[in-house]
């Protein structure tokens, strides 16, 4: 009798990737495997609450922890205005420094990852990140890539550039964006390739920080919003997932003093929650609408006073359960959020501020599964009009119900787990 497979999941230190991996790990557990997590400092205990063993990368010293807090303050001061720029303008201002920081993260984590993999000795590693940690390749254990960002992360002539928010047919802008992206990431990429070389890995092409796995790649790209690729990805190595929704505890909407109308959920992710001014102004508009609003304000609850009677603020929601009960989901275009909305047949009002949020905003609009609203030019009237239009769009509701039925017939988390188990069992 073979031993249960130990699968080491290594999500990047963001909620989207972490919770996406929780969904896959829950299904792997149902199939008899033992999923464990490589855990960034700060995420300690988060996976344990879902019943998974954690292996921790070294925690920062107290001095470093203080520096991290200072870093965040500097980050807010520096980058909050950059979120008001368009996708191309963000390349030198936000995307380039973020890639530099991602490269730093990979370099800093390398020794810790190597040591933890020696300790775990997994049957396979699931990497949900945007960059390769050389220790994973060097370990010799089979590794699988999860692309939990938008599908644009894997380039193709028919797919608009990653982070561009462009439509594929916008040829001139696509060409200009691609060149600007390469220029903006050139410094970080050169540094990363030097690091890879020092660890015995081959260099990657410009703009590319993570190779595809030779064994299996999982893409969180439901068929309803997927592009038709000029060079289709080989089916034996690339599996598209119809969402990747985790099992979560049930959410009972609280009673509000003004408790009428459809339920609308808004979350911009933990990073988006730092823009309390924007969210505060949106809440003022929500007060004028005949609906109930659940608003995720992350760690900034104390920044809000005089909350309207039809609005409820929380620092954390069991999102899949809330979205399931909602008539509309206002979000930042994070791929997990977008896919959860599609999975439950809920229209998206996407207000992107960075990264692949731009791509999903464009895609929601193009596929008739939602609308895009610009975070800098919206007014109370345009926000109100967008919300009411989405709530009353009967053809969109019918389309989303069909999409939801199709996605729920083949849940992505289970499909991912099946593909992982099959890939491990194939002798390679």
């Amino acid at each position: 009798m073979s031993h249960p497979r130990v699968i080491a999941l290594f999500p990047e230190a963001s909620f989207g990737a972490a919770l996406n991996c929780v969904g896959i790990a829950q299904q792997l557990r149902h199939m008899g495997a033992i999923p464990v997590f490589l855990c960034h400092p700060g995420f300690t205990g988060m996976f344990a609450e879902y019943g998974f063993k954690e292996y921790h990368l070294p925690a920062p010293s107290q001095v470093q922890a203080q520096k991290n807090e200072d870093y965040w303050q500097a980050f807010i001061n520096t980058h909050l205005p950059h979120f008001n720029l368009d996708a191309e303008e963000q390349l030198p201002t936000y995307v380039a420094p973020t890639w530099e920081a991602i490269v730093d993260t990979a370099i800093d984590a390398e020794a810790g990852v190597e040591s933890l993999l020696d300790q775990i000795r997994p049957d396979a590693i699931l990497l949900d990140n945007v960059i390769m940690f050389p220790a994973i390749v060097r370990s010799g254990y089979p590794w699988i890539r999860i692309v939990s960002c938008a599908e644009t992360e894997i380039p193709d002539p028919n797919v608009p550039p990653y982070l561009s928010g462009l439509a594929p047919e916008d040829d001139a802008a696509v060409t200009r964006f691609e060149q600007t992206y390469l220029n903006a990431t050139e410094s970080a990429h050169r540094r990363y390739n030097a690091f890879r070389k020092s660890r015995g890995l081959r260099p990657l092409a410009p703009g590319n920080f993570l190779e595809n796995s030779d064994r299996l790649n999982l893409l969180l790209a439901p068929s309803a919003v997927r592009y038709s690729r000029a060079r289709p990805l080989p089916r034996e190595r690339f599996v598209f997932l119809e969402g990747c929704v985790r099992e979560e505890s049930r959410f009972d909407p609280p009673q509000l003093p003004a408790d009428d109308g459809p339920l609308i959920y808004m979350s911009f992710g933990s990073l988006g929650a730092i823009d309390t001014d924007l969210i505060g102004k949106m809440i003022d508009t929500f007060a004028t609408l005949p609906a109930r609003f659940m608003v995720n304000v992350g760690g900034f609850l104390e920044a809000y006073q005089h909350v309207p009677d039809n609005v409820y603020l929380g620092s954390w929601f069991p999102q899949p359960s809330v979205v399931e009960q909602s008539a509309l989901f206002i979000h930042h275009g994070g791929n997990n959020s977008f896919c959860e909305a599609l999975f439950h047949g809920v229209p998206s009002l996407v207000i992107p501020y960075c990264w692949d949020g731009h791509d999903n905003a464009q895609r929601a609009q193009a596929t008739g599964t939602g609308r895009r609203l610009d975070r800098t030019t919206w007014s109370p009237d345009t926000l109100r009009e967008a919300i009411l239009a989405l709530l009353n769009d009967t053809p969109m509701a019918a389309r989303l119900q069909r999409i939801s039925r199709e996605m729920q017939a083949e849940p992505g988390a289970r499909r991912a787990a099946e593909a992982v188990m099959a890939a491990i069992d194939v002798s390679h």
């Binding site: 963001s14 933990s270 992350g298 104390e302």
Partner: protein, 310 residues
């Protein structure tokens, strides 16, 4: 006398809500019978108050009474049972609850005048005064010199919950270790039964509110048994405040069940008079409950555990 009638009615309304919680947790359907004995055990009270709670639910057309057969469920979850439970709060004497809830939800500030509350709730000055008296009895508000009232700290932010757990880590194990700890075995048995029933529900069916209710009852019970009167008083007041104002708890199903298992283990140790073991298990339980998610995280950025300064 009027006060006492009102309080009794309030207790029955609270119990009626508890009954609906049990109905939801057990996934009961319209037409199902609600045996008094079963619900009296599930709610940890005698049959008399259960009858009063059933009567309120009958008035609200949530239950139906059949001669010589008892009470039956009229509406299920699909028919708006959860909403019906919420509407119970709109009944008489719920002004205190509305004020408390509005404060916990940051709709009103922490200092309030009587006249501002009269305007907001469109009720008489006497009603507001009565509501504030009810809240002050639980230590939720205190009267300031003049005509204003001040709300005490509440469980309305993750930081407040964290501070509460730090406080409880100091006091709750000591409440167990203090000489004179005496446990009511019958009450402990009822609590254990209800926890086991919650554990027996289908995965994902335990709600945060249902869990919080039982959790505060368990921890209040431990406090009641303590031999140290000051630990007892401080913890009972603290758990009353938790129950009244803690919101926004969203805990994965695995941790809810693990937490209930920890409660059961603590009660088992206490039954065996293994107080040191029970105190250690309480430390473990509270430490596990104290895990906090990072307050902000994104690629390329170290996760932030504390609120960033704005």
């Amino acid at each position: 006398m009027a006060d006492s009638r009102r309080n009794s009615r309030q207790n029955h309304i609270a119990l009626a809500q508890q009954v609906i919680g049990v109905v939801l947790e057990r996934g009961m359907n319209p037409g199902d019978h609600l045996p008094e004995q079963v619900f009296s055990e599930a709610c940890g009270v005698s049959r008399t108050p259960i009858r009063a709670a059933f009567k309120i639910l009958e008035e609200k057309e949530i239950l139906a009474w059949k001669e010589e057969e008892g009470y039956f469920l009229e509406i299920g979850q699909a028919d708006g049972l959860t909403e019906a439970a919420h509407r119970l709060e709109d009944m008489e004497d719920s002004l205190a609850q509305r004020i408390l809830s509005d404060r916990a939800d940051r709709r009103i500030g922490d200092i309030q005048s009587i006249s501002a509350l009269v305007r907001r709730y469109n009720v008489t000055r006497n009603s507001v005064l009565n509501a504030l008296k009810i809240l002050s009895r639980d230590g939720v508000v205190t009267q300031l010199p003049g005509r204003s009232w001040a709300f005490q700290p509440m469980f309305d932010t993750p930081k407040a919950v964290d501070e509460s757990l730090a406080f409880r880590l100091t006091i709750e194990p000591q409440a167990i270790l203090a000489p004179g700890f005496v446990m009511d075995i019958k009450k402990a048995g009822l609590l254990k039964m209800r926890m086991q029933e919650l554990l027996d529900t289908q995965e994902g069916h335990i709600t945060s509110t249902g869990f919080l209710r039982l959790d505060t009852e368990f921890h209040s019970f431990i406090a009641e048994c303590s031999g140290n009167r000051f630990a007892r008083g401080a913890l009972l007041a603290h758990h009353r405040l938790r129950r009244a104002t803690q919101k926004d708890i969203s805990i994965p199903d695995f941790r809810l069940r693990q937490s209930l298992d920890e409660h059961l283990e603590i009660l088992d140790s206490l039954e065996r008079h293994q107080f040191e073991l029970a105190a250690d298990q309480m430390v473990l339980h509270l430490r596990r409950s104290r895990i906090r998610r990072p307050e902000a995280a994104n690629r390329g950025i170290p996760p932030l555990m504390r609120g960033a300064r704005q």
